[in-house]
Symmetry: D4
Subunit: 228 residues, 8 copies
């Protein structure tokens, strides 16, 4: 009977859940890792056809997948830094998420987080290159931090930025460790552990490089924080 289930689109190689928004209010998302470019295109199309009025997001795309999507779906918007794509109109933004990144190497994760926030209906403020070894830049943006409804703080190496930001403001924060580093950074585990042990109260953490997860949480918080 599942075959007839209108909540599922059966593409042969995958059975796509086209009903998620009804359950959680979130847009549809395609996790691109491990899928061929053609599979990503097919799933994007199936989701877009079902709900053309909503944005679909595809993440973790290879350069090949980005190129294939660019040709097959010219109406899609490509974000090469975030290695992601959106198809369909973005929702109206409510509330603001500030995406704060420590270094330029953290840019891909910060970009994935920012795009995810936009697709999930919140506004984005980008604050880059505010690593803890140069406090003057961070102190210079203190007001912008305080005005956000939610913060996403992205950092690799020793992962210290969330602690410092958390001492400057009481805005809800999600920290994202990145796999930037070498040797005993252990692929991001050092930053992850540091963030989990932050001395600043209220820092929550997502998986290494998981800009998407941070974006979903932050957008939810920002949207419900904005006056209606």
């Amino acid at each position: 009977m599942d075959q007839q289930d209108p909540r599922i689109a059966d593409l042969g190689f995958a059975r796509v859940d086209v009903d998620r928004a009804a359950r959680t209010g979130d847009p549809e998302v395609v996790y691109g890792a491990g899928k061929t470019p053609d599979q990503v295109v097919a799933i994007l199309r199936a989701l877009h056809d079902k709900h053309p009025e909503r944005a679909v997001l595809a993440t973790r795309l290879t350069p090949e997948a980005l190129a294939t999507i660019g040709e097959a779906l010219p109406e899609a918007t490509l974000d090469p830094v975030a290695r992601a794509v959106t198809l369909g109109p973005l929702p109206t933004a409510r509330g603001t998420v500030a995406v704060v990144a420590a270094g330029t190497s953290d840019a891909p994760v910060a970009a994935e987080a920012a795009l995810t926030v936009a697709v999930h209906g919140a506004g984005v403020e980008r604050i880059d290159d505010v690593g803890v070894a140069g406090l003057h830049r961070l102190l210079g943006v203190r007001d912008r931090l305080a005005q956000a409804d939610c913060l996403i703080v992205v950092a690799g190496m020793e992962g210290a930025l969330p602690s410092v930001v958390g001492g400057l403001t009481g805005v809800p924060m999600v920290a994202v460790p990145t796999s930037v580093g070498y040797g005993a950074s252990l692929g991001g585990v050092a930053a992850l552990l540091a963030m989990l042990n932050s001395c600043a109260p209220g820092v929550t953490v997502v998986n290494i490089d998981n800009g998407y997860g941070a974006g979903v949480h932050a957008a939810r918080v920002a949207r419900q924080s904005a006056p209606r």
Copy 2:
């Protein structure tokens, strides 16, 4: 010159920051682990004297510390399950945080989270004993989950509850792994890893047994989500 700094109360064994609320809007908190009962009492008194109109929270208290506080500060409110104490009036609650716990062994962490939420100015809804091996109970509270402004989901062992709850609702969620388990639970690391790898989007995580951290984040989200 620091000695004269009105933002610091010097107790000899500790220099207490009595100015935190001005910076982040949070109440003062005493982390009781590693302090003697008398030290906890002294710090509580110093903070309370400085701002008698606000609540002070002390966490991670030994039974001895709880007893000493009960005698020395009879106006304090003891919470033996949370191993915590509050002194001074709780703030008016704005918004609601649902604290969801998988098993009875998770009760101390859930209680610490709940008390922290209250001290930080949000309302608390407790939902206990909804482990994933008994889905009927969890499905029975689905509406209560959806009505909260933020969820705190507490679980030990395999840490699966946040994923299941995250599939039922789009309310912002903080997951708290507990050290409940044995053998390859590795003191809560198994649950922590599971939560960081949740297939439900938007799950954020705090350190093992860190009900306090989850409470701070969730209260901030709930307060700013509530209509003013």
Copy 3:
């Protein structure tokens, strides 16, 4: 003297045990990883020649090995999703194993498990795309779970599915963690730890991505459970 041992076929690069079925009742299996396509073909042939009336299974095959086998042994049955091959007639199926998979990324491991079950003489029931973040699908197949003689539950990321399935039914279950995930999934270790710590009683676990091992155990259970 070993050279003359009829229980061993000496191929030069390997001495193949052609007597295993007599000891444990299991079919012969070739573990393809680390072997050249030609070596796999040679071993398959040696085992098939010895016992043409029984099925031989080869697993962990590269695309090249699959292609080479397809040409060299046209009577072989290729399963590209499982990256496996069988040669010779499958045994009559006794009993039923339900192979339950959380996501489409788990398909290769689930397919390896399913093919292994069939080669080891039990029937297979496939139940896909029943991740814990979408409970409605899982609850919809509850009866099919209960009717199986043994369950194989395949999941990556947080590895929560065995706990939820284990709360729905008392059928013997083997859980298979997969290496699906990123960052702190640690190549499947997160899912492995979660399954070892499942709060559902009676969940047993095999190595990461080890669909073959789960299939052997489950087929043995199913065959001896079926009325003769």
Copy 4:
């Protein structure tokens, strides 16, 4: 409304699920770790009162809890080696589980497994002191292994016993690593890893020292394997 739920017995400090048998066919079990002796007695009583015709099992009991139960519930059966207790009549045994242990230090885990099997309705055959460094004993019990419906193989240190047993027979097997060992045994992790990597096909594994989990799985297999 839950308070009226006949499936739950509310003891104040715990809400006991008295309906589990109806869902999974398993007896009620009290996990004693972290509970006071009086709490264990209270829960045992509540479960026994609800279903006096069935056995209740309590595991991981301290010597104090065992003594308290012995006085408060004289009709209970104490098993000090297994650190466990049963209350109420054991079910009729169907099928046989052989519990195989490598050394005398593994006795508590083997005893917990054996008692769990009995409480879950299968017969038990104990085979002790058959470590791999003394193969003659193991080879001497080969027939007893082959006649069982399911094997539980308990071993610490290098955890090699399941591999050797798995080469001798094709009976379904659950391996239980124990925390016996020192230094780089890492509290049983060495044995756990060895068992997960067994070269014998079809070995499934439970958590370190988890005789209970192995017993549940094995009893289910043995019961459904026995002719009715």
Copy 5:
């Protein structure tokens, strides 16, 4: 022949190297962990008798050892916070080491570092309670940091302080992770990894809680930096 070696004092339970200063210029040090109070007293005496004009340091002393030493060697100077003792005159101080600590829980390690610096012939400047979540205090001591010849930066939890300090000044720095924290702090490993991955250039690190090692290195640097 070793028995006659004047570089060794044979106490029966230990052969004490009384010649170390000649080789490396460092004072003699007794590592108290694992030694009885009487053994510590005996070794202190042997070293002091050999070179009464120099200071001897004993570290990692239990409260019992401190008390025993206090009685047996009334001329010794006890430092209960550092859990250490010195016997004999401190050398004249050359150069200055600033010992910077994040929180009050780091006090024992900071005190051990400070005392070690003094015993090794450099001056000490203590800067406490300058955690990264309260930057105003840290920024207030920036000049004191810059005037030191070497910095010892002590921090637990997420270990972020060395990175922030390293961005404020180019003074040579040794970072000391402490075991302060809980859950995924892993006994100080989180702080250790963070410090090894510091984005501030030139941060060197010693073992967890190793105030002694940091003190030796910093004193050597400070002494040779001071104008003669």
Copy 6:
């Protein structure tokens, strides 16, 4: 407003801090890993243009980046062993750092350390091939070790060299573990742990393969140790 900040050069793909020397006295450094050859060239040019009188260092360069820099910036000095480049005049050397390496496989890390020392204004003394399994060579250079102002000791595998050197001399030392080794060397973690646990007092450690970090620290120490 940041765009106008004279302390920042905005290259589009990166915002380069051209003001670091003013804050810490260190030269500018480009971390080449993860940057394209053209990006490295652009950053080197921007930094060199801003301060042509100072040296700029670029590390962790691929062979492609080295070749591109060689063509685009013919005035740059290439160091292929160190995989690094300098542009602009080196500062006058003050003090001496001895860079000691255990084996030829450690050469790239030792070369990066040596070049970093030179760029940061100290003299360099190279001592190679003095592994602990051939003590005669090490003992033969004892005087050269003692005459340095700071030591950098580079070793992979078991990382024993710092302990042996530390027993020979009291010169301040930084140990650098390298990723040389295999199997349970765990990519340099074995050497890192050994160095953190050195029985020689005062050994400080940097991250695996981090010749740059060791060079910065050692140069600072050497410069301030030299008579002015």
Copy 7:
């Protein structure tokens, strides 16, 4: 039938293998950890009664067990440093094992190794306090090292001693890491990893603190190396 097996002595709480010497030529050994003093006495007696002409060894004894044995078996020889006991005449020594220890904290492990060697029939040469931070002592015993038939090298902390000794002589060597150390010594894992990665060829390693295992191997080597 096993009960009648003359190779087994059944003591109720344990079935003792009294036939091991016939299989491997080794004496009987009782591993005392986890056994009560009375159990150790009973096993020692059973083994001694069976073969009064041979030595029996008991290791890992608590002070209580040592005291109980001293009273119950006055003919036993106690070794409190090794925490071990022998009963019955030692075999004639053939060949020599040099037991080399880095520090006084390694004494218990070195003593266990030395006693094991003696019980297994080889002569023992003790060389203590030859840590790598004081090479003069080690170089002074070079001839004694070279004259042994096998070396046991015991070290904690960074575990460097085997590499240095292995560079001085080609005598077969077993390295024993000890759990001496703190912080990132990880209970001896740092020393274990260092020894496994020794740059000196031919170093073999046993488990942390496993003086017994090293003693068995070294005694076997020494005995067969000695001229008969």
Copy 8:
């Protein structure tokens, strides 16, 4: 002055120790990993020229290095399975080492061990395909095991073979874990831990895949055990 040192051959890219045999009696060995084919050829030539009457061994060679050596040094003997080469006459063999391997995947490591034994002057007996899941083969070679002077036991996956062999014979044994396996074999760490925790007394262990190290130790033992 080192340049003139006759114990060192300076090749520019490496300073080769040509004096090792005089110190330890071992032949010269070139570790090929990380060296170019031409570098290996040059070092082999330098060592061979110095001592043409002795064998030189090169290990860990890539296929390219093997081909280059085959052309440049036609008198060299290539061993492609061991990925190694010898140059110069092998020494006369004294004593016998049995190299025992569990599976065909362990062949490269076993071959490296065997060749190392031969180069170090002992005889080699190869015993392959005796995995613990097929005990009949292992029991069939029991006499050959007992007649060796030393055993090298090579196994991957669960690493159980040394324990079983160690129960069959008292010949000195070195165990070599291999990186064969997948998932939670963790690149050989599972087998390494199992061997370190072997219940058979006297098992010593070398690093993962370190056939060379095992060969050196075993050859030393065998040579000194053989009657002269």
